[in-house]
Amino acid sequence: MIDVINLQKSFGSNQVLKGIDIKIEKGDIMCVIGPSGSGKSTFLRCLNCMEDPTGGQIIFNGVDIADFKVDINIHRRHMGMVFQHFNLFNNKTVIQNIMLAPVLVGLQDLKKAKRQNSFIKLTNLLRSSKMKKDLVAITTSKAEIKQQAKENAMALLNRIGLADKADVYPSTLSGGQKQRVAIVRALAMNPDVILFDEPTSALDPEMVGEVLDLMKQLAKEGMTMIIVTHEMGFAREVANRVLFIDDGQILESAPPAEFFGNPKNPRLKEFLSKVL
């Protein structure tokens, strides 16, 4: 689904990613670990072009999204992202946070279809009766888009047990609640893959569990996930592949049993001996 070919990223003269090749299939749960400053977060942020790659390709559903000419916003709709610091929209209530993108994107598409239709109508005036083009079918309306997004958001909130918090602002939530809302905000777009950038690093220890539990649920349902994390236990339990990145390169890529049980790369051995 995502095919990363020789991905490179430099900040000025500082090359952070030195050519990364990796294939991510549908249903993969890939954990990325590595020391800080190794480029693992940059790697993740390059996948949805949050940082523009300076070299290489990222083929996502058949399109090279590292190409500047591609409208990245369309592809990002299919790639959720969860941040270390949650980044919930502070000026929106919890339910608005979840609804915002689906509603705006739905309205945008609706507007586009309407514009297309009026253009077709205009050009049809000049066409002979046989050549007339058909209008684009519009099956939905503003109210319907909003209603649907709201129902979907409520269902997601029910799922994480925060339905009673729908109308409060994020500033009143605990860290764990914020991160769970952030995860369902990403889910609301029905993404093909979700990128997690150290989702539990900013949480109090007692709140880590609730977030990891939700992520485990998603994993069970077959969501494709790429997770930068320091939670070795989680990686071992949930991932089907673990990557070790250091100095901008993938040094080891293996299933968790092999990765933790029988590491080959000396740098990884040293790293594991420190953190485990």
């Binding site: 949805n48 949050m50 709709r77 941040f83 209530t93 915002l100 994107v105 500033s171």
Partner: protein
Amino acid sequence: MGDFSKKVDAFLDAFINQNGYAKVLEGLQNTLLIAVLGLVIGILIGTVIAIVRVLPKYKVLPRVLNGICSFYVGLFRGTPIVVQLLVFYYVMLPLLGLRISSVNVAIIVFGLNSGAYISEIMRSGILSVDHGQMEAGRAVGLSYWTTMLKIVIPQAVKNILPTLGNEFIALIKETSVVSFVGATDLYIAFNMIGSNSYEFMVPYLVMALIYIVLVLLISLGIKIMERSLRKSDRRH
């Protein structure tokens, strides 16, 4: 105090019997019109400039726009507003062959001028919003502009509201220079009353009171607005 009550009588006579109140109302209306519309124009211009100035700058177009905006801000902050009014009214209009009433000229000039100041206020407001907000918006597939308008700007405005109120109050007070181009404001109105009654003490005192009341009312309005915008905060 007999002297003072005589002065008050003279003022009241000029204010009520010689149509002074009409002039004052006209002046008050102009003052408010210039300040409010100037602020609205200023906020629009300021927001656009602020957004341009925080655009990522590795493409050519943002750089060019940024240069133009810097020039604009430099120009309008670098000259006194009286000079801008005079230049606009007595130099630009004749050169362009336009006829615009002095009040409208004042609205335009005050808008352009406060746009320069508000752009800097707004820019600091935008920079005060955590970059993660923009990233989160972009990550769910919203465009830069949509995220800016729906997420970042509302939070920026909340942060700068006290400063923006300051700007509005300054604007109200600065409008007293529009008489330079012949527009009737509070000063002109009370000056006329003074001339009619040959007595300036009470008219200018009342003028000062009106300004103070205006500013107090505005401060109150800002406070109420702030409170409603702070809903999403835990500070109350």
